[in-house]
């Protein structure tokens, strides 16, 4: 009896901490909602039904895409950081951005900008997804197993692949018709236009599938971050879980990149902001925080891009510049490990 009574006040302190994190998550959700509302209503002509319908038709798919991409990147980045056990890595290191750029450059190089593959967004999406998914799965899942489950090899392979894909892409670009290159260049930057509802539906379904298939491994994330020895001590198959989580990360990044282009650098920003805001080890909270912060940044950023800069500066510029500065800040303030 006495021990049960003792539990309550001691549990309270933890419950208070958890409550404050939940409060912060709710605050983030509200911010995300307000940002979405702002995006959907700013400069919209409510008086004219035709213009209103036009605005909604343009904005709705964009905003849904942004929410999906934020969730994908937010979740994948957090999981990737836990798998690699380092808070300043990003799934960019897997080389998917370079692969995406290479695929699109190769299409223009071999088939031209007038070809079906280059023009039709559905075909392009399917091809991106298939190629990136297959290549990444083969390389990261298979090679990871072959190299005895050492996560450092993942980073090494990613670095080598990034160089490899970039070099091929640069060579093609040099030999390309300059007019073709101009057209190509605009497609190599992350963009939320040109997304139709079929792509959104397919992407959402695939995202859901990945989460469902890997749900058991996602539940083990907290234990994984205790380290390999502790995870095994507590009865978890560390190597197998890491391999499956890595595969999930790779697939989610492939989906997001196939949708909008090279965007995974955002993951560094939102994963670390989430860690700073929610001081907890619980991945359920951290991933949700990461996704919500991503939504606020993407939708808010797009509002600025569209209304303040009138589309002249793409959002990837803000992500890269902001992310770069934040990355330097993270490096400089990283606590020295004793």
């Amino acid at each position: 009896m006495t021990t049960i009574l003792k539990s309550e006040p001691l549990d309270n302190a933890m419950a208070v901490k958890r409550k404050s994190n939940v409060r912060r998550l709710i605050a983030l959700a509200v911010m995300a909602f307000l940002t979405v509302v702002l995006y959907m209503t700013l400069n919209v002509r409510f008086d004219n039904p035709k213009l209103f319908e036009y605005a909604m038709r343009i904005r709705t798919p964009k905003v849904i895409t942004m929410l999906l991409v934020a969730s994908c990147i937010g979740g994948a980045s957090m999981v990737f950081q836990s798998v690699i056990n380092n808070t300043i890595v990003t799934p960019c290191l897997l080389g998917m951005n370079s692969l995406y750029t290479l695929i699109h450059t190769a299409v223009v190089f071999f088939f031209g900008t007038g070809s079906l593959v280059a023009r039709n967004t559905n075909v392009a999406f399917a091809m991106d997804l298939a190629l990136m998914g297959v290549i990444a799965t083969f390389i990261y899942s298979y090679m990871f197993k072959k190299t005895k489950y050492n996560v450092l090899y993942v980073l090494l392979i990613g670095t080598v692949l990034t160089s490899f894909f970039s070099s091929m892409q640069t060579t093609m670009v040099r030999a390309m018709d300059p007019n073709e290159y101009d057209t190509l260049l605009t497609t190599l930057v992350a963009s939320f236009s040109n997304i139709n509802s079929e792509i959104i539906l397919l992407a959402a379904v695939m995202m859901a599938l990945v989460v469902i298939v890997f749900r058991k491994d996602l539940a083990l994330l907290d234990i994984i971050t205790l380290g390999k020895e502790q995870a095994i001590n507590l009865g978890v198959d560390y190597d197998r879980t890491i391999r499956k989580l890595l595969l999930g990360v790779v697939l989610l990044i492939a989906i997001a990149t196939a949708m909008v282009g090279p965007i995974s650098f955002l993951g560094l920003i939102i994963a670390n902001l989430s860690r700073q805001l929610l001081k907890t080890y619980r991945h359920s909270h951290l991933i949700m925080g990461s996704a919500l912060i991503g939504m606020v940044l993407l939708v808010g950023g797009q509002v600025i891009v569209e209304r303040v800069f009138v589309y002249s500066i793409p959002i990837s510029v803000f992500i890269t510049v902001g992310g770069g500065l934040y990355f330097l800040y993270l490096l400089l303030t990283q606590k020295r490990r004793s």
């Binding site: 539990s7 020895e229 907890t280």
Partner: protein
């Protein structure tokens, strides 16, 4: 590399593995606890080979604490100890789990600081938190790889006293890898000495702690003095 190592772990006692650097103590500990796979040989745990055990079942009988404990997570002491209940309850902690966690934290005298983050604690306090987690894991066998490393004399001595209590009060079988042979001599029941990947000596403390044995193992001269009935060594 270890070769031809063959011994039986005495139940309900404290066994210390000692020996020079690179002798294979941590390797043997790793093989016993399934952290490392052996190339040949058999580890028999309660009648079944250790690699045939389901890891989750094994984690309720055997706990291992290694030296690699520098995680960067924002974890409080209580949250860390709670992980010790994972083999039993997964991610869903019951009321009974909470009682066990309270008791483990109380046993290690961490009740006042259980809501502090472990990266804000001193080395000695953090080590106690990990031991509390091992206690919460409620296993019959506890394996500790150099638990007194990086601890000052006060904390190291207290750690050894706790090891003794784990055995005497909680009835656990404890196996330790130790560098400090005097801690091994004073606080354990049996000693297994390794040299170059093989067992040089296995026996009770009195049997192993002799001038001749220690000189053979460490290649250095020793004097033995009896303190409180235990043979302690002086080396120079």
């Amino acid at each position: 590399m270890v070769d031809g190592v063959n011994f039986e772990i005495p139940k309900g006692k404290v066994l210390s593995l000692i020996g020079p650097n690179g002798a294979g103590k941590s390797t043997v500990m790793g093989i016993i606890s399934r952290l490392i796979a052996s190339d040949a040989g058999l580890v028999d745990f309660e009648g079944t080979a250790i690699n045939k055990w389901k890891s989750r079942e094994l984690s309720k009988r055997l706990a291992i604490l290694t030296q690699a404990n520098n995680i960067q997570m924002k974890l409080t002491v209580r949250e860390l100890v709670t992980f010790g209940r994972f083999p039993y309850s997964g991610n869903h902690i019951t009321g009974e789990d909470r009682e066990i966690i309270d008791q483990a934290i109380g046993y290690m005298e961490l009740t006042d600081m259980q809501d502090q983050f472990i990266d804000e604690l001193s080395g000695g306090q953090r080590q106690r938190a990990y031991i509390a987690m091992v206690i919460a894991q409620d296993t019959e066998y506890v394996l500790l790889d150099e638990p007194t490393n990086n601890l000052d004399i006060y904390h190291a001595t207290n750690m050894m006293k706790t090891v003794r209590r784990l055995c005497d009060e909680l009835g656990k079988t404890v196996i330790l890898v130790l560098h400090e042979i005097n801690y091994a001599a004073f606080y354990s029941d049996y000693i297994c000495a390794f040299v170059n990947g093989k067992i040089a000596k296995f026996g009770t403390v009195k049997e192993v702690m002799t001038k001749e044995n220690l000189a053979e193992i460490y290649k250095v001269d020793f004097e033995i003095q009896e303190i409180e009935g235990k043979p302690l060594s002086i080396y120079y």
